[in-house]
């Protein structure tokens, strides 16, 4: 059959529709810009993020350093651009892993039902009942600080959400007539799950993933703030804020700008996600329980 199921085509035009609303356009542009900055950071700045210039430490924002310098004399704007790479990629990859694993688990549980469903739900609900920061801390306690630990921690923290969402979608769809038709035509379980159920469940899950990325960025920043994220000299927004607390009084810009970056990014993600939900008209499908 054709690869472009109705669901997929709907999604692609929805992105454009979302972008047409003023809220969607602004935030969409902002996010696109952010991603471009993160990707092309080395081309956009001539400063190095890891070379220290101690005599120039704690310089307030100026023409030379638009956002000032940190405690080692490094240009803050440069550190933030590279930090965008860390924060965005860690969060995005972690959520991607979480979505992939969650969709597989949720589809399996939703499709086969019965004891498998109950088992998966019980295990997944274990994390569901904990606040994400606690789950993350528990995992970092085991794995240790650093980028790997943070990614695993975030992936596990959001696993429940995607599993449950997928499961709810699957359970709603699996009794549809076209699924019955496929089965009567002799389609295998795997074929049904991967070719029909999952693509149709994709829309709400992907939008939910996008919104979760916003939360993940905050979680990554929080872990970085506790010193458990990327280790020096690798910049991350949370890590920058962590070392900035020591300079809260004499150089507040060190903590101000990364925090603003996190806040604006997450707001942009939320607003764009909102616009996307409206364009796709799937608000009702985002209910999870």
């Amino acid at each position: 059959m054709t690869a472009l199921t109705p669901a997929v085509r709907l999604r692609q035009s929805a992105l454009l529709r979302a972008a047409r609303s003023p809220k969607g356009a602004l935030t969409g542009l902002w996010l696109l810009g952010l991603i471009l900055v993160a990707v092309f950071a080395p081309l956009l700045t001539s400063y190095r993020y890891d070379v220290q210039n101690l005599p120039g430490a704690f310089a307030p924002p100026s023409a030379e350093h638009w956002l000032g310098t940190d405690e080692f004399g490094r240009d803050l704007l440069t550190r933030m651009m590279y930090g965008a790479r860390t924060s965005l990629s860690v969060s995005a990859i972690a959520i991607a892993i979480s979505v992939a694993a969650g969709m597989v688990l949720g589809a399996t549980a939703g499709y086969f039902g019965g004891r498998l469903d109950r088992a998966v739900t019980l295990v997944v609900d274990l994390t569901w009942s904990f606040p994400e920061i606690l789950v993350a801390l528990m995992l970092v306690a085991i794995i240790g600080p650093g980028v790997t630990g943070t990614m695993v921690a975030i992936a596990v923290a959001y696993l429940a959400q995607f599993t449950r969402l997928t499961r709810a979608q699957i359970m709603a769809i699996k009794s549809e007539t076209y699924i019955e038709a496929a089965r009567s035509l002799g389609a295998s379980d795997a074929h049904i799950v991967f070719r029909h159920l999952i693509p149709n469940a994709l829309a709400p899950v992907l939008v939910s993933a996008m919104l979760a990325t916003g939360d993940a960025i905050i979680l990554e920043a929080t872990l970085g703030f506790f010193g458990l994220g990327a280790q020096p000299p690798t910049p991350s927004w949370g890590g920058m804020m962590s070392s900035g607390t020591a300079q809260l009084f004499n150089a507040p810009w060190i903590i101000l700008f990364p925090g603003l970056a996190v806040a604006t990014t997450v707001i942009a993600i939320n607003l764009f996600g909102d616009a996307l939900i409206r364009a796709l008209d799937i608000r009702s499908r985002l209910r999870v329980a």
Binding site: S129, F130, L134, A221, L248
Partner: protein
């Protein structure tokens, strides 16, 4: 009602067991010998023998778990590695400040969230609505530790209205509560607003309008009561969120409590304390959720019926 409560309590037990198994497993998942997680670094062989015997580390895993669980239920949470005191003592010391902070934060975020949600709903799609919902979104997307630091800078350092850190006196609780509450009220405000709008479209409201009741009174006395039902539903979820927020806030404001106990213990690799603190927090979340569910059932007969 009593039946429902008992049934929910009973349902709590398997969840508690599952959570306790995960927490118990932490010291076995960490690379290295579990004995090392329970001892001061560089302890001698006699110390290792004592700990091995006490936790049954040379026995099969399920026996170890049984010993651990048994100790737990009789109040023995082990001995802290750094402080060299019974963990139960440390946890009991840390519990009240955390509960006070979380309770006040929950109260604040609920009251403020409902208030803002109501005002937004009453002014639906007008300027007040946009401003409120925008402000609420801002509050929820700021990282809580950043918000906390900004509040310290503004209100504790510049204006000197409140202390910078610590837990001395009631004024020290204001900024921490604000930090958690401003983030937490977003969901409450949004749900209240939506619930108010939906409830206002119900038939009985039309009837009240027809009877000539003043519109504000209708909203505040009747619509709100119905709108609060979904709010209470999410309250149960909020408890977990507030406790999580308390962890960060306790660190930023250097307040004693379960959160700072946990973070400190993680930094110190003091695993008996880590396990106990995680368990306490998990139980608080579970009990809070239970309380929320019971509250919801008390308010909404349909929920009680659904579980029959």
């Amino acid at each position: 009602m009593l039946g429902y409560t008992l049934r929910r309590l009973v349902l709590l037990i398997p969840v508690f067991l599952a959570v306790s198994i995960v927490i118990f497993a932490i010291i076995h998942l960490i690379p290295g010998d579990p004995v090392d997680s329970l001892l001061r670094v560089g302890s001698g062989p006699e110390q290792r023998a004592i700990i091995t015997a006490r936790y049954g580390l040379d026995r099969p895993l399920y026996v170890q778990y049984a010993i651990w669980l048994g100790n737990l239920l009789s109040g023995d949470l082990g001995t802290a590695i750094v402080a060299r005191r019974p963990v139960a003592e440390l946890v009991l010391q840390a519990l009240p400040p955390s509960l006070i902070l979380s309770g006040l934060a929950l109260l604040f975020s609920t009251v403020l969230g409902i208030a803002l949600g109501v005002v937004a709903a009453l002014n639906r799609d007008r300027l007040a609505d946009q401003i409120i919902m925008g402000g609420v979104l801002l509050g929820s997307t700021l990282p809580s530790f950043w918000l906390g630091l900004l509040l310290i800078l503004a209100f504790a350092v510049q204006l000197q209205w409140f202390p910078v850190s610590g837990a001395r006196g009631w004024s020290s609780v204001v900024l921490p509560v604000l930090t958690i509450g401003l983030g937490g009220m977003a969901l409450v405000a949004r749900v209240t607003r939506v619930a108010m709008i939906e409830a206002a479209q119900r038939d009985f409201v039309l009837l009240l309008h027809a009877k000539g009741m003043p519109p504000l009174r209708i909203q505040l006395r009747h619509v709100l009561r119905h709108a609060l039902i979904p709010v209470v539903t999410i309250l149960a979820l909020r408890i977990g969120w507030v406790l999580g927020g308390a962890v960060t806030v306790e660190v930023v404001f250097a307040r004693p409590g379960l959160g700072s106990l946990l973070i400190k213990a993680l930094n110190q690799h003091d695993y008996p304390v880590v396990q106990a603190a995680l368990l306490m927090l998990a139980m608080a979340v579970m009990l809070g959720t239970l309380l929320g569910d019971i509250l919801q059932a008390a308010m909404d007969p349909r929920v009680r019926a659904a579980l029959q």
